[in-house]
Amino acid sequence: MFDRPHRLHPAAIVINFGSYFVSTSKAMATPLIALVASNARSGTHMLALMIGGFLALIGLFSLIGPLLHYFSTRFYIESDALVINSGFVWRKRRTIPLARIQNVNVERTIWHRILNAASVKIETAAGAKSEGDLAALSLEDANKLQMVLLHHRGSVEAPVDQAKPTPIYSLTTKQVFLAGMLGNRVVYILAGIFSVFQFDRSEKLFRPALQYIGHLSPMAAILAGAIAFFALVVIGWLVSIVMSATRFYGFRIDKHDRGLLLSHGLITQFRTIVPVGRVQSVRIVEPILFRMYGYCEMYADTAGTFDKKDVGAANKICPLLPEGQASQIGQHLLPGFEFERLQWRQVSPRTVARHATRYFIQLATLSAWPLAHWLKWNALWFVIPLAIYCWILGLFYFHYVGYSFTNDLLVARSGVFRKQAVIIPFDRIQHYTINSSLFQRWLGLTTVSVSSAASGGHAIHIADLEAPIAETLRVTIGTAIKNHLGSRRGGL
């Protein structure tokens, strides 16, 4: 089917041009805003010329790359491997063994849909980006390639199974909006504002803003700050709703013979197959607002997906899931997954003192300078409520943190505001570590950490176990790994 070199779909030129143009424009947006603000008195014609010249330059550079990429790229399947030849000046030949492929995503942006094409992104366990990125194939070819690559038995003539997927879970439009309403992107907006100020070298924006605040009375300054903060939160909330609606519109999970098929997206449509045999860990995340409404998010990490920023939510299995349904979806990812029936074990109560001390040092360091500046020695009065607050946080931490294990799975949960449970099957553990800091040794405590191949950012850390209990857990993990040798599902 793909045994001879294939070109990309000509839509790749338009798609790549668009993405090059957008990404370059995004990168140049803040210096451009700062430049325009700094030269606001130069006259409209001069400004229009500057902006026009800027965009024309970006456009020109953005066109050369896609043209060269289209004419130089060929892909085919040869001896159990996908080969992608690309590059005009620097020729590159990338060979991805089919057996090493972790995931294949088909994505359709609005441009793909207009041009009846789709992009295919191929992930292995390595790297922070997709290892194979075919910018545009015809929709039919993209779906066929996804099936052939996920078959990973090397047969180029592998029959493309068109068995109808079974629906497992879907989100209504109301739930999609709710998922957005329970989040807030205010941090993104703050980062954008700070980056504009950072590029505002001549201080044409920053200084007037400071001067304006300086002229206000203290009460008016506090009121203005509160209104600005409230406005930012509302904008962040609206951005979150829009982002959720565009990304997760029509979200549904189907059981597919290759794994779980996730379909979603309003403008860019994602069609991702998560190969369940290759799931390394499952995470159930409960941010504070989600928890209040009885919902959680679920992630399934396959090797290498934890930090792939170019794949749209590839490891997010479900953006909004009623807590009671976690096991229902989890069982499709990890056999024997029964979250509600887990017997949780607590860590040592001495963790309260250790965490309260840690929170106190962090918060005191952050607040010491501003409080001392404003209140002088009276700032020391804040030590008492701060200590009480930190102790309460420590108690909350102790109350939620815990671990559990069954014959097949190790589970740990942690977090105060954003709670998270990480589930790693014993047959996916890559290495585990026991460590204790000086402070922990004084308290007779130890931390046990367990990593899978997807644990770059999401290893299990069971902090502050009593030393003998940690040793028992260490032996349990070692024995369980030994007992599960040869039972690994899926493989690479």
Binding site: T433, N435, I481, K482, L485, G486
Partner: protein
């Protein structure tokens, strides 16, 4: 359960070569010297900007020389704490003075093994062995201070365990 064949082991924990202390001493001295010079320059600039009655940096040189001496005095303890053991199933690495760590890497999870030797380590006839597993950023374990023969023997011992799938 798959049938297992006995693997070569180290027959108990092993210490690393004592000459590694000299390598650590040299590299720590160079590192602390660089940090001391940079931080002293910053202190000098700060004193100048604040129009302090003296310009000669005192705090940073004393601080970093102090840290350097403290670090040098702990080298023996650091060496004593470093141990490695290859059992039939796992590689066990133990190290650390302040934070004590024991890492267990199942042998069949090891994807590849690197042997490296910097100019200073070569001077003392030493190599480092680094272990890699799937999905990790960089090596999950590095055993410093092995003679070239020990490093080669350890490498052969570890790669005989055929890395299975993830």
């Amino acid at each position: 359960m798959q049938p297992t064949t006995p693997h070569q082991t180290t027959d108990g924990p092993r210490k690393i070569h004592p000459a590694i202390r000299m390598v650590w001493l040299f590299s720590n001295t160079v590192t602390f010297l660089i940090i001391a010079i940079i931080s002293s320059t910053v202190e000098f600039s700060l004193l100048k900007a604040l129009h302090a009655p003296w310009r000669f940096p005192i705090v940073m040189p004393i601080l970093w020389v102090g840290i350097g001496i403290a670090s040098a005095s702990l080298l023996k303890l650091q060496w004593e704490r470093w141990q490695y053991e290859v059992t039939d199933r796992e590689v066990i690495l133990s190290w650390g003075v302040w934070t004590q760590t024991r890492r267990f890497v199942p042998r069949d999870r090891i994807q590849h093994v690197d042997i490296t030797s910097g100019p200073l380590a070569r001077k003392f006839g030493l190599s480092h062995v680094h272990l890699y597993v799937a999905g990790a950023h960089g090596a999950v374990g590095g055993i410093p201070g092995l003679t070239h023969e020990e490093a080669e023997a350890l490498r052969s011992m570890l790669v005989e365990t055929q890395a299975e799938h993830v």
